[in-house]
């Protein structure tokens, strides 16, 4: 088990460094940061001095070495645009993204699972069929389009909900939350549904398929023969057994939701990390871009590592395969 862990951990570090290298070599294609940092009247000499100060004239491997060395101790440098440490910026924006992502995941779970169960049980019902066709929309329409449609419908035509922003937020220590004010909650509705829609339909379809399979198994038939109530069979026995793959997917999707949040955040001007990333790309704020990409890959790598460990724990055969050579 121990060697398995070490092995996986090393692999994760290699993945992180690879991501850093790829990201870093892509940055030079984004443009020149200097032009966004100075005005049109700034002389060539001043621009050159700034470039020198930022270390942009150093060769690539040296720049990369400095980046890795500092990143290893959590120092991502200073944002070119905001002129404050990147870690502060990310910490300031993280609550908005986390709140949005968590609410979206909760929404997709608590709406997606019941919908999946319902469509599995009443396969040919009218409501099931409409759920299924609606879910196609959720899977196939791009997020930004759904967001704009929502804004147009609920913000402009009906005027029920705000079109952008986070509303009023309350600070609790370093965390800021919109859940404690009415305007904050109202602001959360549209973006969280927009973000949740894809996961929601995914979970619904997954639960439905799993459910259909389980409902055909012998033990369900046996339960029926015993005369258990439909409710007990469907929720007590069938659903429980479908949840294992669903939970795995939800875990893996959490990372995706945070990454997907970029588009939702841009459409709704949600002041989270995704918005920060998009703005940084536009202004070629390399330290912020690098830190964001590293953070997202760290999240993905950690989730995968965790899943691997859990699997290994559940099924010891994996450990032997991974740890020995005759796998």
């Amino acid at each position: 088990m121990f060697s398995f862990l070490i092995n996986r951990l090393l692999q994760s570090i290699v993945v992180l460094i690879a991501v850093a290298l790829i990201a870093f070599s892509l940055f030079k294609f984004v443009g020149d940061p200097i032009n966004n940092m100075v005005g049109q009247d700034t002389t060539l000499q001043e621009r050159e001095e700034l470039r020198e100060r930022l270390g942009l004239n150093d060769p690539f491997h040296l720049q990369f070495y400095h980046f890795i060395k500092n990143a290893a101790v959590g120092d991502f440098g200073i944002s070119y645009r905001h002129k404050v440490p990147v870690s502060d910026l990310i910490a300031e924006r993280a609550p908005a993204t986390l709140e949005l992502s968590i609410i979206s995941v909760l929404l997709s779970v608590f709406i997606g699972i019941p919908m999946g169960v319902y469509t599995a049980i009443h396969r040919r019902g009218f409501i099931s069929r409409s759920f299924m066709s609606l879910s196609l929309v959720g899977i196939s329409l791009p997020t930004f389009l759904i967001g704009i449609l929502f804004i147009f419908l609920f913000g402009v035509i009906l005027r029920w909900l705000p079109t952008f922003g986070r509303g009023e937020v309350v600070s609790i220590g370093w965390w800021t939350t919109g859940l404690l004010t009415w305007s904050g909650i109202k602001s959360l509705i549209l973006p969280s549904i927009t973000l949740a829609l894809f996961q929601m339909t995914l979970i619904m379809r997954l639960v439905r398929t799993e459910m259909l399979e389980v409902l055909c198994t012998d033990y369900i038939k046996f339960a029926r023969a015993r005369g258990l109530s439909e409710q007990a069979i469907n929720f007590g026995h069938a659903l429980k057994n479908t949840l294992i793959p669903v939970i795995t997917i939800i875990g893996l999707q959490l990372g995706l939701v945070m990454a997907f949040a970029i588009i939702t955040e841009t459409v709704f001007q949600w002041p989270g990390m995704g918005m920060l990333f998009i703005q940084s790309i536009e202004e070629v704020d390399v330290p912020v871009m690098a830190a964001y990409l590293m953070m997202i890959s760290l999240i993905f790598v950690s989730i995968n590592l965790l899943v691997d460990i859990l699997y290994a724990y559940i099924d010891p055969r994996l450990t032997i395969d991974g740890g020995s050579k005759h796998g």
């Binding site: 020149d32 905001h82 404050v84 952008f164 459409v267």
Partner: protein, 531 residues
Amino acid sequence: MSMIKKILTTSIMTGMILGASAVSANTLKFAFQGDAQSFDPHGLNETFTLGFLSNVYEGLTMLDKDIKVVPGLATSWEVTSPTTIVFKLRPGVKFHNGNSFNADDVIFSWQRTLSEGSDQKVRGMMVKDIKKIDDLTIEVHTDGPQPLMPSEWAWVFMMDKEWAEEHGAINAANVKEKNANGYTLNHANGTGPFEVVSRQPDVKTVFKRTANHWNKITTNITDVIFTPVKQAATRTAALISGELDMVYPIPVQDWKRLDSEEGVSAIRGPEARTIFLGMDQSRDELLYSNIKGKNPLKDIRVRKAMAHALHLDLIKKKIMRGASTPTGLMIAPQVNGFNPDYNTPYKYDPAMSKKLLAEAGYPDGFEITIDCPNNRYVNDEKICQAVASMMAKVGIKMKVLAQPKSKYFGKILAQNNYDTSMYLLGWTPGSMDVHNVLLGLISCQNKETKAGLFNLGNYCNKRVDELQKLVGVETDPVKRQTYIDEAMKIVKDEVGYLPLHQQPLSWGISDKFQINQRADNVFDFRYVVKK
């Protein structure tokens, strides 16, 4: 019964609304597509940033609603010798923290513009030394005559020396110093009509009207809330839904929609920004063309052919929705030095273009690539595509390379050795004076004197260079204008550039407010009135 109920509820509601408006202040909520790139008053010399800050900070001079230079924190100034200007400072001016404004603050602010993190060094370096005569009189010494210094200094904001020292902000905020002098990035203390209540970069900035401002100003607004909104569609939606009172810019294609909605309108006017095409006239062989061994753009007949192939009215009609102002000059009417006599665009005459091309030895035209931004100016990429199809009609095959501004500027500017054969650029002189354009765009490139930094194609005429220098130091307005006219005529006759148009300003506003649209696209709170 129901009637009575209706009347009752209506009157209660009216009462509530009236009560609310009597208690609540006049708040203006507005959005721009991005945030000020630096909140430090000397951090970035860029129009939106400086315009945004000009509600909080003021300079010795300032710009009024027609962008004319008027006295600001100086009541008057006098040129006492060719290299000396004496400023009388305004008495009784207070910073937001209550400190008085005086000569020491001017000297401090000037020195701060020369600090490492400052982007106002060019304006700071116009001055050699400032001597304090008394608390409200200063003597500014310059190396040579600097008649433009007072108007340029409308953008040099005055800071309180004591406040800056107290908060470790004696130098402009610098990207390389960790955790040092970052105070000015979220805090401000100026003399302007509005003070900053809170600021979170990229998210929200709250202003309130300061008590006892020295100047009589029109506005009845007491609070201003600014939120950047990046997506144009979201901005427009927020304006229509009433969440925001003013947003800009509005995409030209959304004008119709705004006009058809109740309670909001799009206000548009000509911006002082001139959009033009530049051509590489210095290399012996173009970087991006199929003609090898020579540079067709060095031939005046080819440049003329291009000029006559441009159908500016068509661009105006089809791409700018009738809202651009076709131009023949490199400066807009709002810019000091503008002379309408020279503003007629080149005539649209494709037959002549073809003839000129044949004369120059290119009867079948040639190929060339034009560099173009796609997120910097109003419909920039579409303009380039239109130009390409107009050129195609006379035989020039133009390829459009449109890129986001970061990539675009990174490619074509000086630090990348002007890597372009032809390009589209827009320019508003920060000083609103023609000299800025003559120096930066029209003078020959010169690394030592820093002239022609943005003359990317290096159009070069020695006489124009001389005239530029004369315009820079001449104080007699009549003589100065003759120099300007001569320079502009030469550029035009030689087709140094291909001016296209002044692009439209495009602001969306709620009908509850009245504002003044400044031609430099600066939103000045001083002229906002809630009806």
